[in-house]
Structure formats: C-alpha cells, structure tokens
C-alpha cells in the first residue's frame, strides 16, 4: 500500500480538524460560468489533507450536490455515471431512510425544503473572529464573481465546560470516539477502530476504498464512481443531516426511567444513560467498564475503542443489543470475526449547534418545554465511498430496524423515529446491580430538519470543475 497523496485530498475527507467553531454555508450557483469563476477563486483557500507544521486558524472545504454538478453543466456522460442515490438526493431517499412522520421532507426547514442547495462550504476555525474573517472573504468572493447565492448558514461549535471545549453533545454524552482507520489515511492506528483480523483479536485498518474513491475496497473492487476517473479519485461522498435534539424530552425520559431503575438514585441515572448509548456519558465504554465511569480507559487510546461483544456479551447484559454504538458498529457481534460489517462502516464528522443547555441540576435545566423549544442539536456529517451500501444501510437496517441485532422491529432509542407501542429493552444479568428494564412510550428525541447528499472532490477535481476540464471520454 503506497502512501496516499494527502495534498490532493480535501482535509475534511480524511481527518477531523478538532477545531471548536464551524460555519456550514449552503450555496446555489447562479450560472455555470460564474460558478466556475467562484470555484477558481476559492481553490487556493481549500484545506488539503497535508500534515500541518503549524495548525492554521481556519480551514475551508467544499462539497457539491448532484444538482450542483448539473448547474456546473458537467457533461451528461459524467452526470449519469454518479451513483443513483446521489443523483436522487437525500429527500428522495426519505422512504428507505425512515425519514417519515415529522422527519419527512415536507417538514424540513429552509433551504433543505426547497431542494436547491448546490454547494456545502465549510469553514472550521479556532476562534469566532477568524471564522468571521474567513466568512467575509467568502462573501466578498460571492459578490465579486456573482457565481453563487448564499441560501443559508449553519453555525456550530463545540460545547464548553468549565471554560474548556469538550467533545460532548447536548444530551451530555462524550462523542466522537469511533471513526474507522483506513489504509494509508491514518498516521497511527488505534485498536478497535479498523477491522478485526481473521484471528479475531488484532485490529487492522479498513481498505482505503471504503472511504475514498479510486482505491480498492474491502471486496477488492473499486467503489462505484463517476467518470472520468480523475474527477472521482481521492473524493468521497458525504451525507449532511441537521439533527435537532430535544434536550428537555431526553432529560425527562431519563429521569422518569432512572427512578424505576436500580436504586433510583443519581448513579442509576448515569448507568441508565450508559445503557442507552453503550458509553457512560463521560465516554467510558460500558463493555469494558459496566459498573462505573473510568477516565483512565477514556484517555487511553489502546483501550477506549478496544472492545468486542461476541466473546462474553452476546446477551447484551453489559452493552445492550440495542445500544447506539453497538447498533452503528456491531464489531464482532454478528459473528464471522466481524466480516459482515466491514463494508458498512462510515466516518463521522460534525459539531453541536445551538446554545448549550442549562445544567441538569438547575430548575431551568429541567424545564422540559423551554429546553425543547430551543433549536439545538448536531450538524451531523458522515463520509463513505458508497452512500447506499454504507450510510443508507446503517440508517435503515441498524438504526431504524433491529433484525440483525436480534431485536425484531426495535429501533435505536435516541436516533430513530418512533411509533406508538415501541420499546427499548435493557437486559439484566440477575444481579441487583445490573437489573433489566423495558422503557416504553418512547418519544422522538431527535428531529431531522433537513440535509442532503454531497460529493467531496479531490483538489485536482476541484481544479477540473473550476477550469471546465471534466471530460468523460
């Protein structure tokens, strides 16, 4: 495996920047010529995957919807070569994604409702001032070239705690542990983040083609990609979803069931919260530490993601079968040393948006209605080589359904859209310290407000788009 040319890959595609501020700008091209002029001006600002000598204050990255490529007037032979789910866009895939009820596209916010977003332009920054300055630069380029209109922006930022930025999300869970390792992409690998070897013990990186187009994937094949090869190679597909979190509903639900769980005290509440997700809210994986939070595990990269389910937790008495991290990445839970899941992995990016919720131990922090009324949540992004095979499969089969996890019709407690009559089961092991519980009357904790499917091209491909050089022949 030769080393990837990181300077040709957009930095966002291969690493999380670990910057606390972000602004996602959603643009609509006004015409092909102006769009190309705009891209030419933006090109020098785009952050690549090259390693930094010194961390920059801001980054900038670009991705396009299929309609964006149509607006750029790419040749027909190129347009029709994109995977069908990307051509259709996320709105058209609502049925198979389970985006129904209040999550259905007719309830989405602007600009997603109109379906006219062509470009996702992301600025990440170390501080608000630099973010604003970079945004002003972008705005002046929009004005000077007239190449695109700004339809909307989504600001996001890491949540602070005790004066420091955290990796927590609004429900209080520490997030962002489990991104897969890919061959050639990662500088150093971490046990638990790639795939299991045939020995069932050693973790190795996934094939590069599970993330980037133009490389062999886990089947030894090249992922389905548009022509010409140069447009596709070093690119990846991205799903963007604005997920509003009902913090009041979550806290009320947790309190309600915690009072009926174990001793019904504050420890029971934290333990119950850990059973929803598979990690304690401080990030400790329950599989490794079912009875207490343990920062020594969280801080140790050799342990924080290094666990399996098949050996001694097939019944889910430590990590419930339906816990979020077990659903989204079942590891070896389905047997065959995890081989059934190697082609269903996704890389996740994203940051919380909206104001931090008041602390849980204040009266303000328990005001369900007021908490729910505030627009806060997560700007969720997932990257993969195939939207249909990876993101859509995980969303449909593992988040919105339970058969593979041997849970019949049960869904992910926090992420899925629930219907009346659904349950969330927590298996117990017969000891008073680890009792079983069925949670019923499941509310919808998360509301999908919109989003779409994007393609993140390589630096070369961005240049080809800007210079109108895309030629499928």
């Amino acid at each position: 495996m030769s080393k990837l040319n990181a300077s040709d890959i957009q930095g966002f595609a291969i690493r999380g920047y670990n910057m606390p501020y972000a602004r996602y700008c959603f643009l609509r091209f006004t015409g092909a010529e102006g769009a190309r002029a705009l891209l030419a001006k933006l090109l020098p600002l785009v952050t690549t995957g090259q390693l930094w000598d010194k961390k920059p204050q801001t980054t900038l990255n670009l991705a396009f919807t299929f309609r964006g490529f149509v607006a750029l007037e790419l040749p027909l032979a190129t347009l029709i070569s994109f995977p069908v789910e990307f051509q259709l866009g996320m709105k058209s895939r609502a049925g198979i994604l389970g985006d129904t009820g209040e999550n259905a596209p007719e309830h989405w916010e602007s600009p997603w409702q109109e379906g006219e977003v062509h470009v996702w332009l992301a600025i990440n920054a170390m501080n608000p001032e630099d973010l604003e300055a970079e945004f002003q630069t972008v705005q002046s380029l929009l004005e000077s070239t007239g190449g695109a209109l700004l339809l909307g922006v989504q600001d996001a930022s890491a949540l602070p705690k005790d004066g420091k930025f955290t990796t927590q999300e609004h429900f209080g869970y520490t997030d962002g542990f489990g991104n897969p390792d890919y061959l050639g992409v990662c500088r150093k690998t971490q046990p638990g983040q790639g795939k299991l070897s045939a020995d069932g013990k050693t973790w190795v990186p996934l094939a590069t083609g599970e993330l980037l187009l133009g490389y062999a994937d886990e089947a030894g094949e090249l992922p389905v990609a548009p022509v010409p090869h140069l447009l596709a190679a070093n690119g990846t597909f991205m799903v963007y979803r604005k997920l509003r979190q009902r913090v009041g509903t979550f806290r009320a639900f947790l309190n309600h069931w915690a009072a009926r769980y174990g001793e019904g005290d504050s420890f029971a509440k934290e333990k119950l919260a850990s059973k929803f997700v598979g990690r304690w809210r401080d990030g400790t994986p329950v599989e490794l530490s079912p009875d207490r939070m343990d920062q020594s595990i969280v801080q140790d990269p050799n342990r924080s993601t290094n666990f399996q389910y098949a050996k001694d937790d097939l019944a889910g008495t430590k990590c419930p079968l339906g816990a979020h991290i077990r659903r989204a990445n079942p590891r070896d839970a389905f047997g065959f040393e995890g081989r059934l899941i190697h082609r269903r992995r996704i890389s996740r990016r994203g940051l919380p948006y909206g104001p931090p919720a008041p602390p849980e131990d204040t009266s303000e922090g328990q005001d369900t209605e007021a908490l729910d009324a505030t627009d806060r949540g997560i700007a969720f992004m997932a990257l993969n080589a195939s939207l249909a095979r990876q993101f859509e499969f995980v969303q449909q089969q593992w988040i919105s359904y339970g058969n593979d996890a041997r849970l019949g019709n049960e869904k992910d407690l926090l992420m899925a859209h629930h219907e009346p009559g659904e349950r969330y089961g927590i298996p117990g092991d017969g000891s008073p310290a680890n009792p079983p519980l069925f949670c019923t009357a499941l509310p919808n904790f998360v509301k999908l407000c919109g989003g779409d499917y994007f393609f993140i091209p390589s630096i070369t491909a961005l240049g080809m788009l800007a210079m109108n050089l895309v030629d499928p022949r």
Binding site: I96, G101, R423, P436
Partner: protein, 210 residues
C-alpha cells in the same frame, strides 16, 4: 436426510413452463402477472392453506451469462420454481394445498407442461413428485417447531414483553396475582393467523410491492 430438517420439510419443485409461440401473452408472463396479484397478507394462498413457514414462487427464464471465466449455458425450458419450508411430509402438505387452495394452484400451474390439475389428487401428487428436487438449504429463521407453535410462541413473546413493560417494579403479591391471570390468558389465546404482521413497518425497500 435430504429435504428434511428436524420436523420441517423442504419442498423444491422445478416445473417446466409451456412454450407456445401462439400464446399471447406468453405463459411465463401470465404466471408473472398472476403472482404479482397475490396477497402477501393473511388472505394470501399460502397463509390460507395450513403448514407453510415460507413459500417462494419464481419464474426462472434462463441462466444468465455473467462473463469470463464462466461458460455460456442455457436452460431447455423456462421453469416455475416453487420453494417451501413446511410442516409434515411432502404428500400431506401437498394434499393440504390441493384441498384448501385448489383454484389458486390451478391458476398458477395451468401454465406448466403436463400439469394435471388438483381434481385428480393422485395425478397431482405424482406430477409434483416428478418435478421435485432435493432441498439442502432451509430458511434460517425456521427452527424445529411447527407453524402453529411458532405463531403462538411469537404471540407469547410479545405478550410477555408487554406484561413486563407494564409490571416493572410492582409488588410481588400484585405481580403474582396478575401473572396467574396473564398465564391463563396466554394459554387460552387463539393461535394467530399466519402472515398477520404484528407491527407496521414504515421503512421502504424500493420494491414494487410497497
């Protein structure tokens, strides 16, 4: 033993479809059309007749050449493939089908060469026997229980889960009293009808039957 997995029988039939240039639409298309109109719910033919865990009907036009290194081959005929995992032995099961859904069987198999119809039961059984292939793979979720036992077990499982959900942290005396009533109700609950979905799934798969 081939075609048998515990108490479950695996029936695989390969029935040649009539090849008649004068038939418009062709017999294979007529079968396809008829199959597309069948109900998948409790009023479907294989839910009405007893003993079917899973049944699948497929019109097999030909084998498809997929490129080198395979060689190009073709079937001598178009076939109707019938696969079923069922209770009991072959003849009892087929007799049950012939008695309960004769018109449905005739509507499908009338397009197959040499099909005698269901009226003459022994001719019908002989025909099906002639078309039979050995079954070596079974539908994974079918275990060593009858259809009736499976339906009752699933009903009990759902009822127990619902009982637990509504009786968590009740006093022992109250729990015992209610549980006795519950067990009695479970024991006397009628067996649910086959193919009656317990839960409405909103997820779509993109198929034409949705």
């Amino acid at each position: 033993m081939p075609s048998q997995s515990g108490s479950v029988y695996g029936l695989t039939l390969l029935c040649p479809i009539i090849d008649d240039n004068d038939a418009i639409p062709s017999h294979d298309l007529q079968i396809r059309y008829h199959l597309s109109t069948l109900s998948l719910g409790p009023d479907g033919p294989f839910a009405t007749a007893p003993g079917t865990h899973l049944a699948r009907l497929v019109v097999l036009d030909d084998v498809v050449y997929v490129g080198v290194p395979s060689c190009e081959e073709h079937l001598n005929s178009k076939y109707l493939v019938f696969e079923s995992n069922c209770d009991g032995d072959r003849d009892t099961y087929l007799t049950g089908l012939a008695r309960n859904i004769p018109d449905q069987l005739d509507a499908i198999w009338q397009h197959c060469i040499g099909y005698p119809g269901t009226k003459d039961l022994s001719a019908f059984l002989n025909y099906m026997k002639k078309c039979q292939l050995e079954t070596t793979f079974f539908f994974a979720p079918v275990n060593d229980k009858s259809v009736t036992q499976t339906l009752s077990a699933l009903q009990t499982q759902r009822a127990v889960a619902a009982f637990i959900a509504t009786h968590q942290s009740c006093s022992a005396a109250y729990l015992q009293k209610d549980f006795k009533v519950f067990i009695d109700r479970c024991a006397h609950a009628p067996v649910p009808r086959p193919a009656g979905q317990s839960f409405h799934r909103q997820l779509k798969t993109g198929g034409r039957n949705e």
